[in-house]
């Protein structure tokens, strides 16, 4: 079987590809509707946790030392934070949801991004959170309750079933992917990944996202893979359908690829961002921001 390093030889720096096999530091995101960042840091520090800023995202707190599981503190149960990779926070802040918005979270489980959206919306407006995996929706439901949000409605459906008349202000598509960026979790994921099927699904999903978005609405597309066929090429597919790429607000990450397999891609794809454990201390990740 071909290794990931060989697969992306000459395209992505080897050291970046290799870092997909290394676990990034554990990170948490503070629920600022319940507690201030400083107070949470103080309280966890008093319990023996060692915490520092994370360079990839201003809301992320990196955990250097865990005397016990960060998911088993009273503060966690109180909904003061969510355990989440720093890269996963980027799509939500890039989408910039506002109170009162109608937002679609197309693949919402396990709910990290959904609760982040709700927090940034100050629990106002509506988030429609969809996922086809009913078992995983349980986590979305209880995360929403634990963190104290009430503006979420969860559907166990493929979002393609939603009517176009809803006209969302913003859509977040954190697409199902080959998970090449999180190989530290499951090194055998590559063997299981059905790339052809995933790419078809991603194309369908982004087409649905465009259909459901109102004119002038914002779409953020993200994955936890470093595969250009699941990233830049899917975004190029959206651009071909009239979506306009926007520069991301974050200064973390590196520009998206504009060449693949000897072919030139649309130059504006450099506005997308790629993230690696080596350079950003996150899982391998990809984010693009577009407007309809």
């Amino acid at each position: 079987m071909i290794s990931l390093v060989d697969k992306y030889s000459g395209l992505i720096p080897q050291s970046c590809v290799k870092s997909c096999y290394s676990q990034p530091p554990a990170t948490i995101r503070v629920n600022t509707l319940k507690i201030s960042r400083d107070e949470l840091i103080n309280r966890l520090t008093n319990k023996g946790f060692k915490l520092v800023e994370h360079k990839a995202h201003p809301q992320a707190i990196k955990i250097i030392k865990q005397p016990f599981s960060i998911g088993a503190t009273t503060e966690y149960l109180c909904g003061y934070y969510f355990v989440q990779d720093a890269a996963s926070m980027i799509p939500v802040t890039e989408l910039n949801p506002r109170p009162g918005d109608l937002v679609l979270d197309m693949c919402s489980a396990p709910g990290g991004k959904t609760t982040h959206l709700a927090e940034l919306m100050n629990d106002k407006g509506v988030i429609i959170a969809c996922d086809v995996d009913k078992q995983r929706l349980k986590a979305v439901k209880y995360s929403t309750q634990r963190m104290g949000f009430s503006n979420v409605v969860i559907y166990n459906i493929n979002p393609a079933k939603l009517p176009g008349s809803l006209e969302f202000d913003k859509v977040l598509l954190d697409a199902p992917c080959s998970a090449e960026g999180t190989l530290y979790k499951n090194p055998k994921a590559l063997e299981k990944a059905n790339y052809k099927q995933l790419i078809i699904e991603q194309q369908r999903l982004i087409e649905t996202a465009i259909k459901l978005l109102k004119k002038g609405g914002m779409l953020v597309y993200s994955t936890c893979t470093i595969n250009p066929e699941e990233n830049e090429l899917i975004v190029q597919h959206a651009v071909n359908q009239g979506m306009k790429l926007l520069k991301l607000e974050t200064s973390a990450g590196s520009p998206g690829l504009t060449k693949f397999k000897g072919k030139e891609l649309k130059p504006e794809l450099s506005l997308t961002r790629r993230f690696y454990q080596l350079t950003d201390e996150t899982s391998g990740f990809f984010v693009a921001r577009m407007i309809k």
Binding site: R43, T74, L77, K141, Q145, R146, G148, V152, Y155
Partner: protein, 176 residues
């Protein structure tokens, strides 16, 4: 699973059994209350904007898995087991206690509260009444029913029966 709108007045009447002194009319004002078809029925409260989406999608036979703010669950709509999310709103209106660290840990494992672990009591306890439980840092841990009016006197004994606690979130995560 499907969700249907329920009668607000009947819900308030039922909730009043556990929350006699709470202004439930005001709390649920401007919102719609829905119940799930599952057993026990989950009861939620949703704002107008969310309700409009719910009704629009219901027309094309799309029913949510979950929505809004949890009120509680019930088998018969006569008696409700209140949710953490709902109870927490009434921190200024219900009697409450602060417990020590050992009792905090035990309470989060669904255990009852003993009199000798109570550091302070706020508000008037009129047993059997809903009583909120906090730790020394002021975190809401859950709620229980006071089994006596005098929570700290008369020696060591169980005084608060655990109704619901935030340890629930860890227990449901482990069920996955």
């Amino acid at each position: 699973m499907s969700w249907v709108e329920i009668n607000k007045q009947q819900l308030i009447k039922s909730l009043k059994k556990d929350l006699p002194d709470i202004d439930l009319i005001n709390n649920l004002k401007g919102e719609h209350q829905l119940a799930s078809s599952s057993m026990p029925h989950e009861v939620v409260s949703v704002n107008n904007q969310l309700y409009k989406i719910f009704t629009k999608l219901k027309k094309i036979t799309l029913q949510p898995y979950y929505l809004g703010r949890a009120v509680g669950d019930t088998n018969d709509f006569k008696k409700h087991r209140l949710s953490l999310q709902f109870i927490e709103q009434f921190k200024d209106s219900l009697p409450s206690i602060v417990v020590n660290q050992k009792a905090e840990q035990l309470f989060l494992y669904s255990r009852n509260i003993w009199s000798d672990s109570i550091i302070s009591v706020k508000g008037e306890v009129d047993s059997p009444c809903l009583t909120l439980v906090y730790n020394e840092q002021g975190d809401f841990l859950g709620a229980g029913f006071a089994m006596t009016d005098d929570l700290t006197g008369m020696g060591k004994r169980e005084v608060i029966k655990n109704l619901v606690d935030i340890g629930k979130y860890l227990r449901v995560e482990r069920e996955k």
